[in-house]
Amino acid sequence: MECSINRGPEVINNIAIIGANMAGARAAESLRSAGYDGDIHLIGEEPWRPYERPPLSKEFLWEGGVPSGNFYLHDEHWYAANRVDLRLGVRASAIDLRAGTVTLASGETLQADRILLSTGGAARRLPLPGAEATNVHHLRTLGDATGLAADLRPGAQIVIVGMGVIGAEVAASARRMGCSVTAVEPFAAPMIRALGDRFGAWLGDYHRKQGVRALYGRSVKGLRLSGGRVCAVILDDGEELACDAVVVGIGIVPAVELAKDAGLMLGNGIMVDAQCRTSNPAVFAAGDVADQPDFFGGRVRMETYQNAAEQGAAAAAAMLGQPVEYCRPCWFWSDQYDLNIQVTGRIDAQKQVIMRGRVEDDAFCAFFLSGDLVTGALTANRSADMGVAKRLVERRARVEPARLADPDVPLREILKQSAS
C-alpha cells in the first residue's frame, strides 16, 4: 500500500489512540513511561474513562452495579497530569492516511503522525426481532452491565443465550444473586471452544450442580414480546422459556470500520505484524481487534485481558520506533462460583494430556503436550500451577512427561530443568 502518512523526518509529535480502553490506556501510559513527550489523543466512544471489563460479569453485578475501588485504570487526574488529551463520548469517524488526520464525529480534526486502532469490538447482537427490548442484555460496556445489574433480582427468571465465557460467568453471578437461571447453548458444553469437550463437560456439570438448568445442543428461534419486553424465549424445538430478562453472550464483532474505510488490510480483524503494525506503516492496532501472528504459527485474534494490556504496550513501543516482537501464547482466566479457571496456550483434544489433581475434585491442572513439548495448560482451582505452566508454554519447554505426571516432582523443578 502506497499511502503512508506524510511524516517527514522521524520525529513524532502527535499520536492518536482510537479506543479509550485497556489497550488504548496501556498504550498511552507506555508512551509516557518511554519518555515520549509529544501529544497523545485518547479517543473513546464510550463516555467513561478506561476501566476494567472483567468485573462487569462478576463483582460489578453482585455489588448492585457499583464500581469497586480499582475499577478505573487510572484516576481522573492521571490524564491531565500525563498530558493525555482524553476525548470521551465521541466516535472517531474517519482516518485520513495521506493527510495524517483523525476526524471525530463532532467534526473536529486531529493531526496524527501515528495512529493506534484499539477499537475493540461490539457485542454480537442476537439477530431476532425483539432483541432490542430493554430486558434483553448484551454485555460489553459499563452501560450494558448497569442495565443488566438492575434486572438480576432475587427470584428473577434469567435466560442466558450462549454459554461462552460471558454467558457462563453471568450464569454464575445470577445464581449467586438468587436468580433462577436457564442457559441455552448450541454446542454440547459451556466454553467448549476455550476448554475443549472433556473440560467443557466438567464445567457443564458444575453449573448443573449450582442449579443452572442448561440446555445444550439447542438454539434460540424467537423472542416472545409483551408490552415491549421479552416474556419468553422460543427454542428451535418450540419449547418456550418464560423469563424476566435475557442475557446474550454470543461473542463480539471486531470494530474494523475505520480500518476498512481507510483501506487497511483486514482478516479476522485488523491485520497486524509482530510490531503491531497494520498494512500502513504509520497505523498500528492492538487488543481485541487485532488479527496477529499466532505463537504457534498462523494467525489469531485474542479477546483476552492480557493481550489487550500487553499488545497495547507493545504497540506504543513500536510506534516510537523501538524494536518490538510481540507474539505470545494466549492466557486468560474465568471466575465462576468458587472456581478459578485459567488457560494458557492451546487446549487440543488430540494432544497428550497429563493431569495433576483430579477433575472429580474440581481442582486440577491439565497439561497438553505435543511429544515432550508443553503447548498448553488448563487449571481449575490450582492457580499455583499456572505460574509455571505459563512459562513452560512461553519458553516452548521440553519436559519429561513422566516427571510432569509425578505429583511428587515440584513444577518449579521441572521448569528449571526443562530444555527449550
Binding site: 485497556m22 496501556r26 476494567e52 472483567p54 475501588g69 480499582n70 485504570l73 485481558y305 492480557q306 494490556a309 492466557w331 482466566w333 471466575d335 478459578n340 492457580s383 499455583a384 499456572m386 505460574g387 509455571v388 505459563k390 512459562r391 518449579r412
Partner: protein, 108 residues
C-alpha cells in the same frame, strides 16, 4: 518492642515464599530475595488470592489468579490488574527467625 516470630530463616528460599496464617496480623507472605528477607500481606490487593500460591521471580511476586504483580521490597503494584500497593512489614532477624514488630496498641 515485642517481636513476632514468623518462620525460621531456612523456611523461605529464593523464589519459594512461605505463607504465614493470620494471627496477630493478617495473612502474611515471607520472601527471600538475594539473601534478604521481606514480609508483605499475603492477600492480593486486587482479587482474593494468596500471593504465596503465585510465581516469585526474584523481587517480583505474580498473583496466581489474574496475573498482576508486585515489587516485593516496596510492595508497589507493577502489573495490571493490580493497582494498589501491598502492605509491607519491616523485618528483623532474631535468633534464626524472621520476625516483625508486634502490632502496637490501637490508637484513639
Amino acid at each position: 518492642m515485642e517481636r513476632i516470630r514468623l518462620c525460621p530463616i531456612d523456611g523461605p528460599k529464593d523464589d519459594e515464599p512461605v505463607a504465614i496464617p493470620a494471627g496477630a496480623y493478617p495473612p502474611l507472605a515471607v520472601y527471600k530475595v538475594d539473601g534478604k528477607f521481606y514480609v508483605t500481606s499475603n492477600i492480593c490487593t486486587h482479587g482474593n488470592a494468596h500471593l504465596t500460591d503465585g510465581y516469585q521471580d526474584g523481587a517480583t511476586i505474580e498473583c496466581p489468579f489474574h496475573g498482576g504483580a508486585f515489587d516485593i521490597p516496596t510492595g508497589a503494584a507493577t502489573t495490571y490488574p493490580c493497582q494498589i500497593a501491598l502492605k509491607t512489614y519491616a523485618v528483623t532477624i532474631e535468633d534464626g527467625w524472621v520476625t516483625i514488630d508486634a502490632p502496637g496498641e490501637p490508637e484513639g
